[in-house]
């Protein structure tokens, strides 16, 4: 479904991704792990079209995406939930959800889709008309995820969704990922919480200093203490 080949990316003059290749198949949960600065965030930002300078190839369902702007990648069915939530705090919860539909062909079914989202995210349902700034960090993160999901994307990329969120909500979130997978959504996940992430991942790629250094099934990596120790321990 998503095929990344020899992806390189630069921040100014520094070459932050070197020949990253990876693949995500339909219906999988694939996880990127590695230390801070290993290139996980840059990889998904490059896939979404948010890096200024990239080379290589990113194809999604056969379409070459590299060089295309982010909004066109959304139209192909990619969704991205960035780090640090990034919900629009001046808007209400409902407006944030509507924002997830502004460019989607599904926007004609807006009311129906907001109802559906409220069912999946009961915490948001109670707060639809509150300004998003009144919510806790975890609720804001749920909103950011809900906003990315409301347009029914084919592939959702999440950058450290569990960071700084209370454990109860993290459990809810990972349950949601499994439900999404069961419903046919494909997920590419960047996580610091390696154990939790590998527990749900079909496959995982280990990144270090801008390159893929290891690739295995989630279960195999979960059992591989040596790799975890070498590339993921802080």
């Amino acid at each position: 479904m998503l095929r990344v080949e020899k992806l390189n990316a630069w921040y100014g003059a520094s070459h932050v991704l070197q020949d990253v290749s990876l693949e995500v198949n339909r219906g999988e949960i694939v996880c990127l792990i590695g230390r801070n600065g290993a290139g996980k965030t840059t990889t998904i930002k490059s896939i979404m079209g948010l890096m200024e300078r990239t080379s290589g190839s990113v194809t999604f369902e056969g379409h070459e995406l590299l060089g295309r702007p982010a909004h066109e990648r959304f139209a192909h069915g990619l969704a991205y939930v960035p780090e640090e939530r990034r919900i629009v705090t001046g808007l209400t919860v409902r407006e944030n959800l509507r924002l997830g539909l502004v460019s989607s062909p599904n926007r004609k079914k807006e009311a129906e889709l907001i109802d559906r989202t409220a069912e999946i995210f009961p915490r948001l349902a109670e707060r639809l008309d509150q300004t998003a700034i009144t919510m806790s960090g975890g609720e804001q993160q749920m909103l950011a995820i809900a906003r990315a999901l409301i347009s029914d994307p084919k592939l959702v990329m999440l950058d450290e969704p569990s960071e700084g969120i209370m454990p109860v909500l993290v459990d809810e979130m990972f349950e949601l990922f499994q439900n999404l997978k069961a419903g046919g959504t494909t997920i590419l996940l960047v996580e610091q919480n390696v154990e939790l992430a590998l527990g749900v991942a079909d496959r995982a790629y280990v990144l270090d200093q801008g390159s893929v250094v290891h690739h295995a099934t989630g279960a195999a990596l979960l059992a591989d203490a040596e790799i975890q120790e070498r590339y993921c321990s802080v």
Binding site: A70, H71, F74, A79, V88, L91
Partner: protein
């Protein structure tokens, strides 16, 4: 005498609100463009002046004033679209000073071109027949045309508010002003939004110029002083805030008008004094977000 001065103050208050309406029309565009594109548009006064000249030209070839009210903002807004697309767009991402210098230079070019085409001296513009005369507003007779300017401004504000609060595009603009990247990953072509916002701001400035023409006549340099005053308005109201632009615009209009009643020579100084006081007490302005410029 006491009754007479109260009436005079009342009339002067209305005159201030009418003047403030013109400031508001400039300041909302400046504010919208800054809030969304982080472009400080120094050509905004030139677009205002162009509105007045396009109106003058259309009136001179026999187009009626009511059609001008629609045509002028469309023409000036269209010119704004062309400016954004060809001159400003290549400068995004290079810092706030590039578009600032570009629009500053552009304003000189526009003024010079108008001097070449229309001549250096100004022209008076007649108040439209239907809007001549004065009406009793309770405290005395007030020029109908000034009431009309206030009414048009109110209509524009209501329309803009409905557009921003009730439509999909409005939602995109409100969200995009806070976080452009999020709007992009949700599928919005942000370049097109920026283009439209720039055009919209310029179109409203052009309308302001047309409305101001019968009040002050037209000269090529008319955009300069009012741009300075409109900047004061956006700074006092808070850069990027529409509500701030409206309230500060009316306030500045009233301050100018009241000062000219008591100390006419101080009128233009008073608004800069007002700005200084506001900045000392509240550096981000009435509704501004602290740190927006950094």
């Amino acid at each position: 005498m006491a009754g007479l001065s109260l009436e005079l103050i009342g009339l002067q208050l209305f005159a201030g609100l009418a003047l403030g309406s013109v400031y508001v029309l400039l300041a909302i565009g400046l504010s919208l463009i800054f809030g969304m594109l982080t472009v400080v548009n120094f050509a905004h006064g030139a677009f205002f002046m162009l509105g007045a000249y396009v109106g003058l030209w259309l009136l001179s070839i026999g187009v009626n004033f009511w059609i001008c009210l629609v045509a002028v903002p469309l023409i000036v807004g269209g010119f704004g679209l062309a400016v954004e697309r060809t001159l400003i767009r290549p400068l995004y991402g290079r810092g706030i000073d590039y578009p600032l210098l570009l629009t500053f230079g552009l304003s000189y070019i526009i003024v010079e071109l108008v001097r070449i085409v229309f001549g250096k001296s100004g022209y008076p513009v007649a108040t439209p027949d239907a809007l001549q005369g004065a009406v009793d507003i309770g405290v005395g007779y007030f020029p109908l045309y000034r009431l009309f300017v206030m009414g048009v401004t109110a209509l524009i504000l209501v329309g803009l508010w409905l557009f921003l609060e009730r439509t999909r595009y409005g939602l995109i603009i409100r969200a995009g002003a806070r976080d452009a990247q999020i709007v992009r990953v949700l599928g919005v072509n942000i370049s097109r939004v920026w283009l439209m916002v720039f055009g919209l701001g310029c179109g409203i400035a052009g309308l302001g110029g047309l409305l101001a023409a019968p009040l002050q006549g037209v000269i090529p340099e008319m955009g300069g002083p009012i741009l300075a005053e409109a900047f004061v308005v956006t700074v006092v109201g808070g850069m990027g805030s529409l509500m701030g632009a409206v309230l500060a615009g009316l306030l500045v209009g009233v301050v100018v008008s009241m000062t000219s009643l008591f100390a006419p020579e101080m009128a233009k100084v008073a608004i800069f004094a007002l700005m200084a006081v506001v900045l000392l007490i509240r550096p981000q302005g009435f509704f501004g977000r602290a740190g927006l410029m950094s």
